[in-house]
Amino acid sequence: METFVQQVLAGIATGGIYACMALAVVMIYQAIHHLNFAQGEMAMFSTFIAWQLLQWGIPYWLAFGLTVMISLAGGFILERTVFKPIENAPVLSHIVVFIALFAIFNSLAGFIWDFTIKPFPSPFGSAALFGEGLIGAHQAGMIVITLVVLLLLFAFFRYTRIGLAMRAAAANPESARLVGIRVGTMTGLGWGMASAIGSVAGILIAPMVFLEPNMMLSILLYGFAGAVLGGLTSPGGAVFGGFTVGVVENLAGTYIPVVGAELKLPIALFLIVAVLVFRPTGLFGHRVIQRV
């Protein structure tokens, strides 16, 4: 029983990591109706930027803000430069370019900052809060920030015209142009926001897993899983999904005999796919009906 509670708490703590990333995933999905496989590496790169700024002695929150700004601009510019030439290329070609970006960011980061792990400071410290330190001050802080980002995102899509424009641009670019939406700008903005959220996620995650070029490799997958489980169209769902994945994974690893420990991740993923089979657009994603 005690183990159970501990594993759940630990699951929530790591789930926080996934939830952060899941938000970034939802953001990009709303903007391009697809997953960006380079997103994790972009977040990692942003985190290195933050780390560099801190090394230069810039105070934490200033560095934080700067990084978010840089990532926002970076994401926007990246989309406008790299993807402009292939605007009309099929989606698979875009996915391949995501993969290329993945390779580029990963290898650049290793080249610039090498592969040895780096401690990353937490603004909240690591004091044990409860669960005998299972949820420390940092985890708590991270969860709070995640929820704040969630609210902002939710409001953005629900109540702002630009949010609506962005969804429209992703859903039907041609018609979007016909109502005067600058589709390119919207996509760029979407990338910007996604990479900004990604940078926040990275900065919050790094203190827990240590900063290094492969930091996000698996976390992105968990982020996808969380977002997809919750429903890619629902920020709230994504966060819920993230936490669920964290908890389920731990419980699977602890309680499923024989293979549990060895197959933590596969089992978690299997469960998610199982859920999808029954709710093909995730737990909270809204179903788009096709008709003739």
Partner: protein, 336 residues
């Protein structure tokens, strides 16, 4: 007879003629290519033959992926899994049961068809991104499954399985590399022929109809669920055979040989070769084998980045892959 068609009609015969004209160069070209592929093993080093062999093997795997993604519109980031199943089938059969290498191919094919078909069933309900995640999950889970200690007796666990490379039969004056190359080439041609038949057949049309418009396809009497699963099965069949060939040529299988990187490589190969264009698989295979080496030549420390940059440039050069490029070029020629 309406105006619109007059319009069209003007162009059609021209295009038909053009088609006729470009057809012969097309076949000529492919025959030339074939000739080159048959002859070159005699003029290059064993190691290069080995590389070409790998290229062919990846091409076969990509061809399988193409049937699923290009012709049926289902998106898979997990084909490395089927490649792995094929490879392990071959390795286990040869290592534990002393089966001769050529019998492992059909076995691998069948096993992969079944697993592909079964995976296709839940995948039925998933589309686009959701399917992408499911398949990606499969890719990520594969090495861990292969490591699983309860299968260790067969899979050799983390240590993997070492197998022996076959010699050329009936005392043919061929090195192991050359023999395996021709073996692979033959299998590849056979599968290519089969793939083309499928695409040109009733089943193939059903697959493409589902890709273009599932609802209409259903109303035309196409059992969408069945054909989608079949697509997965057949696709896995091809990729699995490629996997077993891979195992035979590499002489070794281990979980680390089949990480998600492999699945991603196959997808990249598919797109570079041209989605929905079977011969593109060759270009894709070549990309998988050679481009990383080129990237490494340029810069060791940044080989990853170089690879990425080259990939992007390639996509700029041919946004719809080699297939698309060739199509546009031949269109240009036509208009002359």
């Amino acid at each position: 007879m309406t105006v619109g068609e007059e319009n069209v009609s003007v162009t059609t015969p021209a295009q038909r003629a053009a088609a006729a004209r470009t057809l012969s160069p097309g076949t000529a070209l492919s025959l030339l290519l074939l000739a080159v592929m048959v002859l070159c093993p005699f003029f290059i080093s064993g190691f290069q033959v080995f590389q070409l062999n790998l290229m062919l093997i990846y091409a076969i795997a990509i061809m399988g992926l193409n049937l699923l993604t290009g012709f049926n519109g289902q998106f898979s980031l997990g084909h490395g899994a089927f490649y792995a199943i094929g490879a392990y089938t071959a390795a286990i059969l040869m290592d534990q049961f002393g089966v001769s290498y050529y019998w492992t191919l059909p076995a691998a094919g069948v096993i992969c068809f079944v697993s592909g078909f079964l995976f296709g069933l839940p995948a039925l309900r998933l589309e686009g991104v959701y399917l992408a995640l499911a398949t990606f999950a499969l890719a990520v889970a594969t090495p861990q499954m292969l490591k699983l200690s309860i299968f260790e007796h067969w899979t050799g666990g983390v240590q993997g399985i070492v197998i022996l490379k076959p010699d050329a039969p009936f005392g043919l004056p061929l090195s192991q590399d050359q023999w395996l190359y021709f073996f692979t080439l033959a299998i590849g041609l056979l599968l290519y022929w089969a793939a083309r038949n499928i695409v040109a057949s009733r089943s193939g049309r059903a697959l493409m109809a589902i890709r273009d418009n599932p609802l209409a396809a259903r109303s035309m009497g196409i059992n969408v669920a069945l054909y989608k699963s079949l697509a997965f099965g057949v696709s896995a069949f091809f990729t699995g055979i490629a996997g077993s060939l891979g195992a035979i040529v590499i002489q070794f299988v281990a979980p680390d040989s089949f990480t998600f990187v492999l699945s991603v490589a196959l997808l990249v190969g598919l797109v570079v070769g041209g989605v929905g264009w079977l011969p593109g698989a060759l270009a894709g295979g070549a990309f998988i084998v050679f481009v990383p080496n080129i990237a490494e030549e340029i810069s060791k420390g940044l080989s990853g980045a170089m690879y990425g940059v080259m990939l992007i440039l390639l996509i700029y050069l041919m946004p719809t892959g080699a297939g698309g490029l060739i199509r546009t070029v031949s269109d240009r020629l036509r208009r002359r």
